[in-house]
């Protein structure tokens, strides 16, 4: 996937930024295409938020080339802002105003005319399932409701590029599913969506592509559909009706395992084939296996195997 400057979407190459001696971002390449949801995945402190601030026209990078919706955020911030929506990881809301006034203020800030402001605010309140809270002060909304309101705020001006920093944190399962559907729908309509997260199970079903970052660098860039599923190191959990027999066989076979817990015993295996072999061995040894399943999604497995190659 290559994007040239001038194309729509996001093209960030070799981005660097340090803060008072701390290298927050030291060479990130992140590309995101229109019509796709791209995940930005990395551990705490990897530099995801810093990169998004650069893309969101808030921070000048030390180096690298950046294009958002075809424009340079440093030299043409206004052009970028007109086409880009951004929702920060920690954000506040104007507590004193109602949800409707809140959205209408941002609509006005983006220069929408009065009629369109009202229409957008009403549509977004519906989208965030906040219709019944439209005329209540923002301050009384629950954390998840605030999160949803802050998220749709980034959509008031129908941006072509959407940057979301940890949008799923604080959302209940239903809201997560809705977020996923909303973003997929936006992508289908041609929006470029870049979502940072460290909740990998969310991204697994949401993203078309993921960019792995660690310690300020891009360490991987994959299509989710093409992630190495069968060959990666990953943890598996085995539950047996006879835990002692299970442990005995594992020890005998020299398989490293964790402490047995109520959910079963965790082992780390090198891929699907090793799992098949182990299961066959357990069955042959007449260990009553009740469950034998991978722990975490394949994205998590890929991420773990990318960040530390030999677990």
């Amino acid at each position: 996937m290559t994007l040239r400057p001038g194309d729509a979407g996001i093209a960030a190459t070799g981005v660097r930024r340090s803060f008072a001696g701390v290298d927050a971002v030291r060479g990130m390449d992140v590309h995101a295409a229109p019509g796709e949801v791209t995940g930005l995945v990395g551990p705490n402190g990897a530099g995801k938020t810093t990169l998004l601030l650069v893309l969101a026209t808030l921070l000048v990078p030390d180096g690298g080339s950046v294009r958002v919706a075809g424009h340079d955020p440093v030299t043409e911030p206004r052009a970028v802002r007109a086409r880009m929506g951004w929702s920060p990881d920690v954000f506040g809301l104007y507590e004193g105003v109602t949800a409707r006034e809140y959205l209408e203020f941002y609509a006005a800030a983006y220069g929408l005319d009065a009629a369109r402001r009202r229409r957008r605010a009403a549509a977004l309140l519906d989208q965030a399932r906040l219709g019944e809270f439209a005329d209540r002060p923002v301050g009384v909304l629950s954390r998840g409701q605030k999160q949803r309101l802050g998220l749709v705020r980034a959509l008031v001006h129908e941006p072509a590029v959407l940057l979301l920093d940890e949008p799923a944190s604080g959302l209940d399962p239903r809201s997560r599913v809705e977020l996923r559907e909303l973003l997929r729908e936006l992508a289908r309509a041609g929006t470029t969506v870049l979502v940072s997260s460290h909740v990998l199970s969310d991204l697994e079903e949401l993203a078309d592509r993921v960019v792995f970052v660690d310690a300020g660098r891009t360490v991987g860039d994959h299509r989710v559909a093409a992630l190495p599923r069968g060959t990666a190191w990953r943890p598996w959990r085995i539950r047996s009706l006879d835990p002692a027999a299970l442990l005995a066989v594992l020890d005998q076979a020299g398989v490293d395992h964790g402490e047995p817990g109520s959910g079963g015993v965790d082992v780390v295996l090198a891929g699907d084939e090793e799992a098949v072999d182990l299961l066959a061995m357990l069955v042959a040894a007449r260990v009553p296996v009740a469950a034998f399943q991978p722990v975490g999604g394949s994205l998590e497995a890929a991420f773990l195997s990318l960040t530390d190659q030999a677990p």
Binding site: L59, P88, D89, F105, Y110, D165
Partner: protein, 327 residues
């Protein structure tokens, strides 16, 4: 920067302020305190009886305006001192900065909102002004000029507080610094003037007593140090009222007295002496005013403060205050 953008920000700021609810109580307390002070002044003047007949309203008006300015130095800094860094702390500033609003829209919107709130406090004193007028002796031109100058001075205070809120990361620091800035203008200028005058060269003055004896003494030459006193808001406000240098007989009008005093500071020779018959001799009936200089300094400060605010709100930024995140 566009009028629509400025208006969008100002409207939002005012809406948030109004919703917070405390302002009604504040304005009510403000009005009652001033009403009480003005009533006390009226009582005091009443005991002077015919001595002040005909100028009672003018004296009350002058006193009222000085009290309004004095109380405003306590109230107005709070209107803007947490405007920018408060929004940053709450995490709403960055989301506004990525909209179509420019740094100028945000800075001036916040400025006009704070200034408007300050003017609301001034407007709340209108019934008291009406009372003064009803007492008689209020100069319409004085009311007009003093009101304009008052608005300009409060605008300066708002601009200074706003700039400090944009410069400093913590809201408590910027609040304290705003009060410090205002005290520098009101009390600091007095102290500076006093110190500079003490160090100024002495000049000879001659005064003639009733019995015809001339008396020569020296006093510090304030013809240069007056500039330090000029930016003082009380000086600017008082001296801006129309000059009435000759009505000194029972000059109780506070604005006139301050104005005269600072003009004599600027032009020591303008102060008249008296001859053996008690007649005024020498002096200048219309010494050059002090307030244009003072007002110019204030307006320059305000303009500088607004420029700083716009600069600090401009994004994308390279520099961040230590320990500050954008979002």
């Amino acid at each position: 920067m566009t009028p629509a953008g400025v208006a969008t920000v100002a409207r939002q700021e005012l809406r948030l302020r109004v919703r917070r609810g405390r302002w009604r109580i504040l304005v009510a307390v403000w009005f009652l305190v001033l009403l009480g002070l003005l009533a006390l002044l009226r009582l005091a003047l009443g005991s002077l009886g015919p001595l002040v007949a005909g100028q009672r309203g003018g004296i009350m008006y002058g006193g009222l305006q000085l009290m309004v300015l004095g109380l405003a130095t306590l109230v107005v800094p709070a209107l803007a001192a947490q405007s920018v860094n408060g929004d940053r702390e709450r995490g709403v500033l960055a989301t506004v900065q990525v909209t179509g609003l420019t740094a100028g829209d945000i800075a001036f919107g916040k400025f006009f909102a704070a200034w408007g709130a300050a003017l609301l406090f001034v407007a709340a004193t209108l019934p008291l002004v009406v009372w003064c007028v009803a007492e008689g002796g209020v100069d319409a031109l004085a009311v007009f000029v003093v009101t304009l100058v008052m608005a300009a001075l409060l605008g300066t205070v708002c601009a200074l507080a706003l700039a400090l809120s944009a410069l400093l990361a913590r809201t408590t620091t910027s609040a304290v610094m705003s009060y410090l800035a205002v005290f520098t203008l009101t009390i600091g200028t007095l102290i500076l003037f006093g110190l500079a005058t003490a160090a100024a060269p002495q000049i000879e003055q001659t005064e003639t007593f009733d019995d015809g004896e001339a008396f020569t003494f020296t006093e510090p030459d304030t013809s240069k140090t007056w500039v330090l006193l000029a930016p003082n808001p009380f000086v600017v406000l008082a001296d801006a009222a129309p000059y009435r240098g000759d009505d000194v007989e029972f000059g109780l009008d506070p604005l006139g007295n301050i104005g005269r005093a600072v003009r004599f500071v600027r032009s020591p020779d303008a102060e008249p002496g008296f001859d053996e018959n008690g007649e005024r001799v020498g002096g200048d009936a219309n010494p050059p005013p002090v307030w244009p200089t003072g007002l110019a300094v204030n307006l320059a400060l305000a303009a500088g403060a607004l420029a700083v605010t716009v600069r600090r709100l401009r994004t994308p930024t390279y520099r961040l205050a230590p320990g500050q995140r954008v979002a």
